[in-house]
Subunit: 307 residues, 2 copies
């Protein structure tokens, strides 16, 4: 009988250039850790948060709001306390909330002997996302839980599809330390887009799915273009065009905004290429007075896991 | 040395519900035949047209306009005469022009010992499509030439991708004998669509590509929904909603407008299901006073071929 587990819940990149609100993938080298323990007393407790600040109030912390959904359904004879070793900065655009929500439901489900399916866990973890009044796609939660590339076909009914991806795909992330609220980043999007742009996006997105299936890096490269969102949101990110242009001219397959930003991601073939791209980003931001972090990560095909 | 060949050039369904302007597939049981002969005299001649009317003027017939492009490039020491056994009614919405254009360039290329690539042939065949002043996607030409499902990623540069598809996929077509001009059918489309609809279309289209790759019929079924075009064009087609609803309740995986209409297509798993769907269509149109034809066809994975 296991009474305590420690898990790693990955950061995630959603939208992935041409897949606005429908595609995301999980990262390997950046993610949160959480220690979850059974307690005699029922209910949920947050007993420690390190790394970055998170609400200690269980009604305001996405991990406990999600976990409360699971507990409501399962009615276990025990409670749970959660310790956060937070490594993803909230608001960075690489799925900080998604990692917290995915991690808590995954860990409690494991401690209770896996009573729930992946679909159940995604729904529990989505709970908090819906609570803030905005209809959020689980394009961070699903890849955090399942790993790899995940296509969110539909929310209601929930239809989630794992897309195979080539083994040698690496991601470079840069997080410029500015604040961009998801709600603001969404509010600047237009209600309408041109049919022509929508059609170009379709062509790119279908091609990306085919390219991931067939490990066709050339096709992945030519598909990683966004015609709907990037032109609006990129204005919120310092030197976005310069970063993107440097990434592409230094070998990246594609570069766009991670989720609603401000992080920028680039995909590359192979770790050397991804590191080379990281250096090119460093050159742009260094000396700009802007605080920033970079990461290079393999695509994480496993998702949240016990460590 | 072959001096004459007879070819079959398939009818095609473009748009395929969620793939507006970017996806098409080829049919097996409906298509044009053409006999193409080398002649001593240079240039092109149309020596017979049977079945349906086509222009005899080589400057107005899509087959000879396309062939003229090829000849301009190749400068062969002979000419060609073309006989059409036309089986696809022009204006039906199942790629009549595409079959003519694809057939002539395929046949002449064969007679000359295959000097050109598939990409070259698609470009020659697209010539006529561009001449009418409208920017046409080769979503009929490419599947007619290549067979199967074809994704038109980009026109310039030309990027065409063949998508694998399950073996047991059948198509039912109904062609209500009304005239809908492609130019009119395109003119009624809006310039803008909502971001929400564009996003739903992305989810469906990506899922369809995945479903075709993995032979996931349930996913193909749930992906065959159009949020951009059908609501506008379906008004031009008598009893469209009734036909669609009958097809779906009689087992079709999906049903939408073929190309710019007026033909309607349904996809089904297996020939029996496709024939059952055909009967349900017959019941709707019979006694309506409307003249119509129906076809049941396997997906044609080979494209235009010598017969």
């Amino acid at each position: 009988m296991i009474n305590e587990i420690r898990i790693f819940s990955p950061g995630t990149v959603s939208n992935v250039a041409c897949g606005f609100d429908v595609l995301g993938f999980a990262l390997e080298s950046i993610g949160d850790e959480m220690i979850v323990r059974k307690t005699v007393q029922k209910g949920l407790t947050i007993n420690n948060v390190s790394g970055f600040d998170l609400p200690m109030d269980i009604k305001k912390n996405v991990a406990t709001v999600s976990a409360a959904e699971l507990i409501e359904k399962l009615k276990p004879d025990c409670g749970f306390e959660i310790e956060f070793i937070k490594k993803i900065k909230p608001g960075s655009g690489i799925g900080s909330s998604g990692a917290s929500a995915a991690g808590s439901v995954y860990a409690i489900n494991k401690l209770m002997g896996d009573p729930f399916t992946m679909g159940d866990l995604i729904k529990f973890a989505m709970k908090d996302m819906q609570e803030d009044g905005m209809f959020e796609h689980p394009d961070n939660i699903a890849p955090a839980l399942m790993g790899g590339f995940v296509l969110v076909k539909s929310i209601s009914p929930l239809e989630i599809i794992k897309i195979p991806s080539p083994n040698d795909l690496y991601c470079t992330i840069v997080h410029p330390k500015i604040e961009v609220k998801t709600s603001y980043s969404r509010s600047i999007l237009p209600n309408d887009v041109s049919l022509e742009d929508a059609t170009k996006q379709l062509a790119n997105f279908g091609s990306l799915i085919h390219g991931l299936h067939t490990s066709d890096y050339d096709l992945i490269k030519s598909s990683l273009n966004d015609h709907l969102i990037e032109k609006h949101r990129s204005k919120l990110i310092p030197k976005f065009q310069e970063i993107k242009s440097e990434c592409l001219s230094n070998g990246a397959l594609g570069c766009s905004i991670s989720g609603s930003g401000p992080s920028i991601f680039a995909l590359s073939r192979g770790i050397d290429s991804a590191k080379h791209v990281e250096q090119s980003i460093n050159r742009v931001y260094s000396g700009s007075g802007l605080e920033f972090s970079t990461y290079v990560s393999k695509i994480n095909d496993r998702g949240v896991e016990i460590i």
